[in-house]
């Protein structure tokens, strides 16, 4: 981070843009001139309006249409079996695992924003944390579909959980695949709980502002009788902080455990100790790209430019720059180790990855994950250029999908014995289910922005200058800084 000193000299260069704080020259986190009532109204009215924008219905229709891909694809899959996919031997892990890892990774930015940035007291996160958490939950929903339908007999997927049964059969806890079940189910549960706890005060606001009896009733139930009592707030803040502290090791462990699925296998290209940190960094990288993909159209469509400002986009782009750097380090270490290990198999794996029949995928991922973002995100002009960031977020997510494709496919289809070499060709059903999950994700997200408060109102109120408590009532001079 640049120093926060007198970056900007107001006398020499008067600030024209009202969004720029004249003292620091930085973009403001919240546009000036807001008060408790205006931010509450701005956010609550999106949910409580009786005039749903037509564009929302249109979006829901398109997303719902695409989401039927999941239903159709899974129906056919259950009827015919996994043979309708492109998975074969040796390429036994195809789109299902790639998509699983990709979607889970996208979810990670939501937890990072809601938990890690809370612990680091990065208050700018308040505007984006609710919908980033929603993104996490919907991404985990999409991710969760894949391993379940990949097990071959999805109606027996509950065998993955340790439960007493008449067969006297239990899971095998030395397998990373069993660890996955624990990691992902914990992640989904804690994310939902954290999300819901965060919304309780906002449900109270919605209950009190709703005009329709049905809305009042539903939000009232969800608010559990929240009334903003100070004793409640203290316990609430304590629980939020604890959940943040617990989510932080959780989010780091989830992608670590997923990387163990690969790293524990004795396959060249998978069997490497760099996988856990590099998977986590990649997850956050793609997740922030997805937050940007979602935030840009939403702030435009719902006119939330005052609350989700260029400062947020700038900060998120900086996080992408940092995590992208870790990913780049991971890639270069993989290449270095394949040479330095002096292992014939490792060397061949890397050569095949770069110049083999699917070498194009490797160079595509280098282009989209490293070459384009890591050269341009250094520029502040581009970091606050909304169009550029929107396009870039797609570029990075394509790149991160190809990263998983390269890891899964190019390691498997050229394994140790040349006699068992094969290839991997995805079928139309692979594509239909994958594209269907984009629709499902968008569908759920559109439902969320319509019916739930997408920006945490209570946390936005805490960021306003009016929260400063002056000792001795309103008249006294001394100002006690609100510790945020």
């Amino acid at each position: 981070m640049a120093t926060k000193g007198p970056l900007h000299d107001p006398a020499r260069d008067p600030v024209v843009d009202p969004m720029i704080d004249p003292r620091t020259g930085e973009y403001a986190v919240i546009a000036p001139g807001h008060n408790f009532k205006s931010v509450t109204a701005k956010i609550a009215d999106i949910v409580l309006t009786s005039n749903t924008p037509l564009g929302w219905f249109f979006g829901l229709m398109v997303a719902g249409g695409i989401a039927t891909g999941v239903v159709i694809g899974c129906t056919w899959l259950f009827l015919k079996g996994v043979g309708i996919w492109g998975v074969t031997i040796p390429g036994a892990w195809g789109f299902a695992i790639i998509n699983f890892v990709w979607w889970i990774g996208i979810g990670h930015a939501g937890t990072l924003i809601s938990a890690i940035l809370l612990l680091f007291k990065q208050t700018w996160r308040n505007s984006i944390n609710r919908f980033a958490e929603a993104m996490t939950i919907f991404a985990v929903c999409c991710a969760g579909i894949f391993p379940l339908i990949h097990v071959g007999r999805p109606w027996l997927a509950y065998w993955l959980f340790p439960y007493p049964n008449t067969m006297n059969v239990w899971p095998q806890f030395r397998s990373p695949l069993a660890w996955d079940v624990f990691a992902v189910s914990t992640y989904a549960t804690i994310s939902v709980v954290f999300w819901y706890v965060g919304m309780i005060p906002d449900f109270g606001t919605l209950r009190d502002r709703a005009k329709m009896p049905f809305a009042k009733y539903m939000y009232g139930l969800a608010a559990l009788g929240w009334r903003g009592s100070t004793r409640h707030w203290i316990r609430y803040e304590s629980a939020s902080l604890l959940l943040a502290g617990l989510s932080t090791p959780l989010v780091l462990s989830v992608h670590t455990v997923i990387s163990f699925d690969f790293a524990v296998a004795a396959l060249a290209g998978w069997h490497t100790t760099i996988f856990p940190p590099y998977f986590v960094a990649g997850a956050i990288y793609s997740g922030f790209a997805m937050v940007i993909t979602l935030a840009i159209p939403i702030r435009k469509f719902y006119h939330l430019e005052d609350l989700v400002t260029l400062r947020h986009l700038d900060c998120m782009a900086k996080v992408m720059l940092g995590t992208g750097g870790i990913v780049a380090y991971g890639y270069s270490m993989e290449v270095f180790m394949s040479w330095y290990s002096a292992s014939h198999w490792e060397f061949f794996m890397m050569w095949n990855r770069m110049f083999g029949p699917m070498g194009w995928a490797y160079w595509l991922l280098i282009l989209t994950n490293i070459a384009i973002p890591l050269t341009t995100l250094w520029s502040r002009k581009l970091r606050v250029n909304v169009t550029y960031l929107f396009v870039l977020s797609f570029v990075v997510n394509i790149g991160m999908w190809f990263e998983r494709f390269v890891i899964v496919v190019t390691s498997l289809y050229r394994e140790y014995l040349p006699s068992s070499w094969g290839t991997y060709v995805a079928t139309r059903w692979d594509y239909i289910i994958f594209i269907g999950t984009w629709g499902l994700f968008t569908f759920l997200f559109l439902g969320f922005v319509r019916f739930l408060p997408m920006i945490p109102m209570s946390e936005i109120r805490m960021m306003l200058p009016q929260t400063k408590v002056r000792r001795g009532g309103a008249d006294a001079e001394t100002v006690v800084e609100e510790s945020l």
């Binding site: 408790f36 509450t40 340790p162 006297n168 239990w170 095998q172 806890f173 030395r174 069993a178 660890w179 624990f182 990691a183 914990t186 549960t189 804690i190 954290f194 819901y196 706890v197 005060p201 109270g204 606001t205 209950r207 009190d208 502002r209 009232g220 139930l221 559990l224 009788g225 929240w226 009334r227 903003g228 009592s229 100070t230 004793r231 409640h232 707030w233 203290i234 316990r235 609430y236 304590s238 629980a239 604890l242 959940l243 617990l246 989510s247 959780l250 462990s253 455990v257 163990f260 209570s458 109120r461 805490m462 009016q466 400063k468 408590v469 000792r471 001795g472 009532g473 309103a474 006690v480």
Partner: protein, 180 residues
Amino acid sequence: MPPREGIYGLLAEFNTPSELVHATEKAREAGYRRMECYTPYPVEEAAVALHFHKTRVPLVCLTGGIIGLVTAFLMQTWIAVWAYPLNIAGRPLFSWPAFIIPAYEWTILFSGLSAAFGMIMLNGMPQLYHPVFNAPNFRNGATTDKFFLCLEAVDPKFSVTETRTFLEQFPAISVVEVDH
């Protein structure tokens, strides 16, 4: 259990957190103890003024975490060693390093659920009815932009007339009686 009839307390409404904190401090100095602030976001100074700074949420969370850790580890040990012993690549049946990961996840799962539900239970929620909701101005402001102080009738020092005079010395927008 306070009586479920008659007056619950006197509710003063303020425009700013500073006025609320000031009034709360003065009420405490005047000897009132049974009182509560209602704010649209957490005001730590109000909690200090109420002398409320200890919550049992962290203890509940820690207990949950320990239960989760022990449960998951013992469950895996029992399954792998006694209930369903399998020879996996010649590893010992009690291969505890592998059990750490699910145990770690369940520590987080149990402690997270304990923190969230513990907070809800300690807050006495869900409690869909509360007397303060009867105040005509409460719902308009308490969850949006107004700050409330309620001096409760169960306080021995409470008297409808004297407490009202006491509250009216502050720049409150209104002081209303709240019924059960």
